[in-house]
Structures are given as structure tokens and as C-alpha cells.
């Protein structure tokens, strides 16, 4: 994918809305397109979070392994969403398995590279952090409602 193609993909991705042209160009220089086949693991619990992934197409399931119930899917994320924030939060280890539920297309950033850019440019870092906090807040609210068992 060309840099123009990446910029086009950025424009339609909700997570990057509101990002300045300068920061879009910067991020486009470090974005790497990826695909994953159904069932393929994008990340494994406990391993170092080496990438930050934006999902463009398909769905990714976040799974937890339990001794008594085996693999328990906790949540899915889809187009316009992101996979995880472990890349930003020390000790930078995945807390869940991330598994493609169907054919997935996305853009990945090298975690170390992105953290470095955020340190160098606090405006970029603050923007990404604000977007991440919104995602975390939404997922926390959704998790609380799941715990409520509202359909009981």
C-alpha cells in the first residue's frame, strides 16, 4: 500500500479522526498494512505488545484462557476500532489473546516507534492518548453493563 493509500485508509478510520495533517503524514510513514486469516492469532496473552493495530475490515476476538472453561471470548472489535492499548501501558504485555474471527485487514504500527514519536511530539501523544482514553472508557462502560446481565 502506498503512503497515499495509507492516508486514504486513515481518513475513514474513526480512531484517527481529528488528527492534524502533519501527524497523519508522520503516522503514515510508519504504518504497515497487514492481513490475518480466520483463527490466526494477532497477539498472545503475556507476550510483549510489539504493535498497535487499527482494524479496517473483519473482526478480532479478544480471548481469555481459563483452566476450567478453556478459551473464553470476552469481546470483539471490528472495522474502525483498535486492538488494545498494551503497547502504550507498561510493561507492554498483551492481557488477552487477539484472534481473527474472519478475514481481517488492518494497519499496524511498531509499538516502540510509536511510543518514541509520542515522546518526541507531545501534541501527537496527547491526541492519541485522548482517543485511547475514549476507547477505554467506552469498553469499561460496556463491560460494566455486561456484568449487570441486563437481559436477565
Amino acid at each position: 500500500m502506498t503512503e497515499q493509500g495509507v492516508l486514504g485508509a486513515f481518513a475513514s478510520h474513526a480512531f484517527l479522526s481529528g488528527l492534524s495533517e502533519r501527524h497523519r503524514m508522520l503516522l503514515a510513514s510508519g504504518a504497515r498494512p497487514f492481513t490475518a486469516a480466520p483463527g490466526e492469532l494477532l497477539a498472545q496473552e503475556g507476550e510483549t505488545a510489539k504493535t498497535f493495530d487499527l482494524i479496517q475490515a473483519g473482526h478480532v476476538a479478544l480471548d481469555l484462557h481459563t483452566p476450567d472453561r478453556g478459551v473464553v471470548p470476552i469481546q470483539t472489535v471490528g472495522p474502525g476500532e483498535i486492538v488494545g492499548w498494551s503497547w502504550l501501558v507498561p510493561p507492554h504485555r498483551w492481557q488477552f489473546d487477539c484472534r481473527a474471527g474472519d478475514p481481517v485487514q488492518g494497519l499496524a504500527f511498531d509499538a516502540e516507534w510509536l511510543r518514541e514519536k509520542c515522546e518526541q511530539d507531545h501534541e501527537l501523544g496527547y491526541h492519541l492518548l485522548k482517543q485511547l482514553v475514549a476507547v477505554i472508557a467506552n469498553r469499561l462502560a460496556a463491560t460494566r453493563l455486561q456484568l449487570l446481565d441486563i437481559y436477565k
Binding site: T76, L145, I150, Y151
Partner: protein
């Protein structure tokens, strides 16, 4: 409807062949169960013969409800869940959660049941015409919205983009599974499913129904949103619509309260200045916002 009965009353066999001379909204018409089907472990669908009293053809608007009377059990308000254009039977999907509904779950084809209705307000199908429609529902809440889907699909060209977002506790709790699959394969509207708890074989979404919003496109200026489900789900769904810029006067929700008389007499379902049975169950959000946000003691 809940008056005292004596032994003599209990032994009275309901009469099916005597049309009443005068219509009374308080008097049930006795009809027969035509079909019974289990939908999930605790939810079932009853198709009833339409009432023929007064020689009129029974009809209803999507969103309206009937009062169903189980003999020796009592009466409950149940929304119609069938196709409003299909006049051959009156369909209700019911979750067996109380003494009356558990009793209704024992009915089988040929059994008599009392019915009053239709009552209440309906979904804004005319107001939605020409624009996008987003239906958000959870659990048994799909049942009162199914007539809307039948209408939208029958008049598909009259509407813009149509999306159904449906959440349930687990895949086994989803209603109308075969129909959902058929709708998903149509391609002319989006059907997104999500569950709170899934096993690894589940191929759709996991999480709250509001998490599906990023996956649909609609024009907030010309979208009508319709919601039915647990109130806490609707509260968060309203927030999602608000985030996307849909005005409160384009959002409709179906409320559930203790409805008994169904005609605004008894006051059991009073909701601010409204009676849910008479002014609802479908309300426009801006008209009830002040009361919807009030916490109950």
C-alpha cells in the same frame, strides 16, 4: 381483569361462537391458539386466530400490544411480533418469567385464550419514510420491533439505509435465529448481532449492543432510531445516537410498565403525565426525556 372468581366461574367453558353485540375494550374476546413454538429455553411464540367479533378484520400497527388473558391465570400486556400485513393470525412472542406467562407457555394449538386489543401507540414508520432507519434492541425487545422489520422489508424502496443491532445474553437467547440468518443474507440491510457471553464457535460480535454503532453508517440528519429492550440498554443507546448527532425528536423507544387496564383508567402505568398503555408504549424521546432520566425510588 383481576377481579375475584368463584368456583362456578372457574368451571365456565369459554364460548367461542357468540360474537358480542357491543365492543368493549375491557372485555376479552376468546380466541384459539393456532400455533405454539419455542424460540429459546424460556421464550415462546403464540400464533392466535384473529378475533372475528363485530365482523371486522383484526389489524394492528407495529409497536402496539394486546392484553392476553390466560383463564385461571390472569392478564398480561404482550406486543404483537408478527407481520402486520398478515391477517391470518395474531402473533405474540412471550418470555415465561411470571405466573401468567409461565401458564401461557403451557397453551397448545386449539386451547382458548382471552384477548383484548390492539392498544397503544406505534412505531413512526411514516416519519421514517425516505430516511435511514436504525433499530436497536436487546433480549425479548426484538419481538415488538419485528413487525417494523416486516414493514421495512416489504416497502424497502421507501427507506434509506436500514440497520438492525441486536444484543442478547448468549447465542442461545437470540430470538428468530433462522429469520435473522435470512435477513443477514439479503444484503439490502445490515443485521449485526452481539452477545454478552459466547463460546469460541460464535462468529458474530461479543459485547454490548452499543459497541456495534461504529460498524454502521447513517445520516444523522435523516435517521430515525427505534429502540426496545432493557431501559439501561436504551439509556446507553440514546447516548450513542446523541454522539452521532441524531436529534431527540428522531428517536423512539418502547417502554414497559405495569399495564393492567390498557385504556388509561387504572393508572398503574402512569409515567409522568402519560399512561404507558394509552400514550405509549412507543414514545418519542424528547417528549419523555424529563421523566425517562428520573431515577425511581
Amino acid at each position: 381483569m383481576h377481579g375475584k372468581t368463584n368456583d362456578k366461574d372457574r368451571n365456565v367453558t369459554p364460548t367461542l361462537d357468540k360474537p358480542r353485540e357491543q365492543f368493549s375494550p375491557m372485555l376479552p374476546t376468546v380466541v384459539r391458539v393456532r400455533d405454539f413454538r419455542m424460540e429459546t429455553h424460556d421464550t415462546f411464540t403464540l400464533a392466535l386466530d384473529p378475533p372475528t367479533a363485530l365482523g371486522t378484520t383484526y389489524s394492528f400497527l407495529p409497536g402496539q400490544f394486546n392484553m392476553l388473558y390466560g383463564f385461571g391465570l390472569g392478564e398480561v400486556p404482550i406486543s404483537m411480533s408478527g407481520d402486520p400485513a398478515e391477517t391470518g393470525s395474531v402473533v405474540h412472542t412471550i418470555r415465561a418469567v411470571g405466573s401468567v406467562t409461565r401458564g401461557l407457555a403451557k397453551l397448545r394449538p386449539g386451547d382458548p385464550i382471552g384477548m383484548r386489543g390492539p392498544f397503544g401507540s406505534s412505531w413512526p414508520l411514516e416519519a421514517a419514510r425516505g430516511g435511514d432507519v436504525v433499530l436497536v434492541t436487546g433480549g425479548i425487545g426484538l419481538a415488538p420491533l419485528r413487525p417494523v422489520l416486516y414493514h421495512l422489508l416489504r416497502h424497502r424502496d421507501d427507506y434509506g439505509r436500514v440497520a438492525l443491532l441486536y444484543g442478547a445474553r448468549s447465542s442461545g437467547d437470540l430470538l428468530y435465529r433462522k429469520e435473522l440468518q435470512a435477513w443477514q443474507s439479503r444484503g439490502d440491510f445490515q443485521v449485526l448481532l452481539t452477545v454478552d457471553r459466547a463460546d469460541p464457535s460464535w462468529r458474530e460480535s461479543i459485547g454490548l449492543v452499543t459497541a456495534l454503532f461504529p460498524r454502521i453508517n447513517f445520516d444523522p440528519q435523516r435517521t430515525v432510531g427505534m429502540m426496545c429492550g432493557p431501559e439501561v440498554m436504551m439509556r446507553f443507546t440514546l447516548g450513542e445516537f446523541e454522539k452521532r448527532g441524531v436529534a431527540a425528536d428522531r428517536l423512539y423507544l418502547s417502554l414497559e410498565r405495569n399495564m393492567q387496564c390498557a385504556v388509561g383508567f387504572c393508572g398503574h402505568c402512569q409515567f409522568g403525565p402519560n399512561f404507558v398503555c394509552m400514550n405509549g408504549p412507543v414514545f418519542r424521546h424528547d417528549r419523555i426525556k424529563a421523566f425517562f432520566d428520573v431515577r425511581e425510588a
